[in-house]
Subunit: 400 residues, 2 copies
């Protein structure tokens, strides 16, 4: 049999997700098993996505390679773990069906690019690992479900497991030592509650002080409050949030989202040494959301903060003018309003009143000085296969 | 018997105290009974004190009056409660000894002044109520101990009960519904550990957003983490802190102080809506203290924050150059270095190294821009009787 010199290729895009019940802390750092369950909203890939091509060929020189946004990257241990697990799943298929090409024996070339600036400080590792795992699963034609693949993506980056689904996604923390029950499941598809929107306020940030990987383990070992979060707070809140999503109860969704973000950052602050991700700009965003809700007479907006100062504001399409419009009135000068979604937002006129509210003057000043970009997006679909490859027919990475 | 037209007068000064195990939350708002015990260091009255004259006379027109820093103030409910309790203690004395003048029947005039700017945002209510209670106790010649008086001062302002003692002071929260066991006791006099110093970094603050009185009740009712603080964290920490004071173990003192400040602010952040007292300047002060300790190779400084952005840095006299000197090197332009204590501090030369440390550049910038005054002080004595009266022989307030 002649040697197979084909270039095999599969390309996918995968979404970012932003948790409303936060993941923080690992019960097993090696297997990336979390101390608690979490729940997120998957954001639309029209606005934020990772595009990844997985390719393999007997003609590629070993070892496996990764090109991220045009730069050759070293494969870290987590990536190596994912590749190893996927390869062994492919090898199992090959051993049960001799007609299959022996792709598991070929070096892999993974080329990946984000459609958003990495400098924006958006958690890109979730989308990145979801895309990597999903692309290789497509390349290898693995018959495994997204939930089964989530077990692998989790080992790349915890929150990546949630990016294997669209809509509203739970990562069930599980209890088994081997992590076999630590999996992502879809709570509801995007079509169940399609009007969910997210406005991301990108804070002109100083470099992140503490990586989330080391930060969360410091919290586990030093925070007296964190154990309480894990045992008492999150289990209760997970049930409430699933119910809020099921009922499309935005008021409850918003209440829990804000509370859980604060609870998470409280545990960061209770860490020794303390971890601060929110800064004065983040706090001004909190006050602004409170102002909007007060003015509306109900919760129409919910803030949440990951391990950084950026604010994600969830709201429903029907409250677009009150929420996004208010922020556009304030932050019209920031980048990001020029896209299709941004142009559609009408800057709210009530801003005149806001600017006369003396109590809010320093909030407004801090926000306008500190937010240099906004991203408008909404709930979206999970990873999808695409035809555009980032590797050409000769196996070279396409320079974009 | 001719009517007694004398002007009776007693004057005292009382100190500020800064807690190292924080008081936050009332189990009984009316009696000002705390959810948990707390522990503080009383600061020297050479640097920060309230001076109060209590005076009474049958010639004063009713009702009781209060003049604070030259301004006539309405007597609030808490002040009225203190006056009522003290008056009834005096009446009891009078009823058992008919020779005593009937001071309890005279209108009271209380005149009080601070030796520090109220605008500095330093908790002045503790010193204020301690001085009020102690001055009236002197005027009435009450035989009660400071601990007995602390029960009254507590009803004026919780932390005031701790200002009735010098040195290291515990407020035992107590368990009884009537508050009779909620009392301040001296853990150690200033002479036990006289080298304790405090550097207060006064942050050019915007107005405080949330009063501590309303803030703490919001925390009690909405924070999931707070109950854990009350039940598990504070009882353990109180014992450890008493031991650290007893042993003059600064390392342990510092560890607990910083941890408890963070734990308290974590509970504030876990409140709905979240309460933020620390701002970017406060956080920069935290980082600076961490830097100093890292450089020293041991804990030589401990930060703590009350319900506001000001940072109080505790250190031992022997570490003055490393701690106060480092801050003087950075913040030499701030007001407050011109006093006797400030002039004695040698600006540390290592600052040159600090300023070249790029990771610290934004910390240094934030601190120098945000701190406009420092106060150098140290552990000090409790309230004392003084001869200088703020009421003249005619019963008029002395304009200072």
């Amino acid at each position: 049999m002649a040697e197979d010199k084909s270039i095999y290729c599969a390309s996918v895009t995968a979404p970012v997700n932003i948790a409303v019940v936060k993941y923080w802390g690992k019960r097993d750092p090696k297997l990336n098993l979390p101390t608690n369950s979490s729940l997120s909203v998957t954001l639309s890939q029209s606005d934020l996505r990772t595009h990844t091509t997985a390719s393999c060929s007997s003609t590629y020189p070993p070892p496996d390679t990764l090109i991220l946004n045009g730069q050759s990257e070293e494969l870290n241990n987590r990536t190596l773990t994912c590749l190893k697990l996927l390869r062994s799943m492919r090898a199992e298929l090959e051993s049960s069906d001799a007609t299959l090409p022996k792709l598991s024996q070929h070096p892999l070339k993974v080329v990946t690019a984000n459609n958003f600036p990495t400098a924006a400080g958006l958690a890109s590792s979730a989308a990145g690992f979801a895309a990597l795992v999903y692309a290789i699963a497509q390349l290898y034609q693995l018959p495994h479900s997204p939930t089964e693949l989530s077990r692998i993506a989790r080992q790349g980056s915890g929150s990546a497991c949630r990016s294997l689904f669209g809509g509203y996604v739970a990562w069930e923390g599980g209890e088994k030592a081997d992590g076999s029950d630590s999996l992502a499941v879809q709570v509801a598809p995007p079509s169940h509650w399609p009007g969910m929107r997210a406005l991301i306020l990108v804070v002109s940030a100083a470099k992140k002080g503490v990586s989330s990987t080391s930060g969360m383990q410091q919290t586990c070992t030093t925070s007296a409050l964190f154990q309480h979060r894990v045992k008492d707070v999150v289990p209760r809140v997970m049930g409430q949030m699933k119910e809020a999503v099921e009922k499309k109860d935005f008021d409850k969704f918003a209440e829990i989202t804000m509370r859980d973000s604060n609870n998470f950052h409280a545990c960061c602050l209770d860490t020794t040494p303390p971890i601060f991700y929110m800064n004065d700009v983040s706090r001004a965003a909190v006050r602004m959301v409170e102002w909007i809700n007060e003015k509306a007479g109900r919760r129409v907006a919910a803030y949440t903060f990951d391990a950084g100062p950026n604010c994600v504001v969830y709201y429903e399409e029907g409250s677009g003018r009150e929420v996004a419009g208010t922020f556009k009135g304030l932050l019209g000068g920031a980048a990001g309003w020029d896209g299709e979604r941004g142009r559609a937002v009408e800057a709210a006129e009530e801003m005149a009143g806001l600017k006369e509210d003396k109590a809010l003057a320093s909030v407004v000043e801090t926000l306008t000085a500190g937010v240099n970009r906004v991203i408008l997006t909404g709930v979206g679909e999970g990873p999808m296969k695409v035809d555009e490859h980032l590797v050409d027919e000769k196996g070279e990475a396409v320079v974009s």
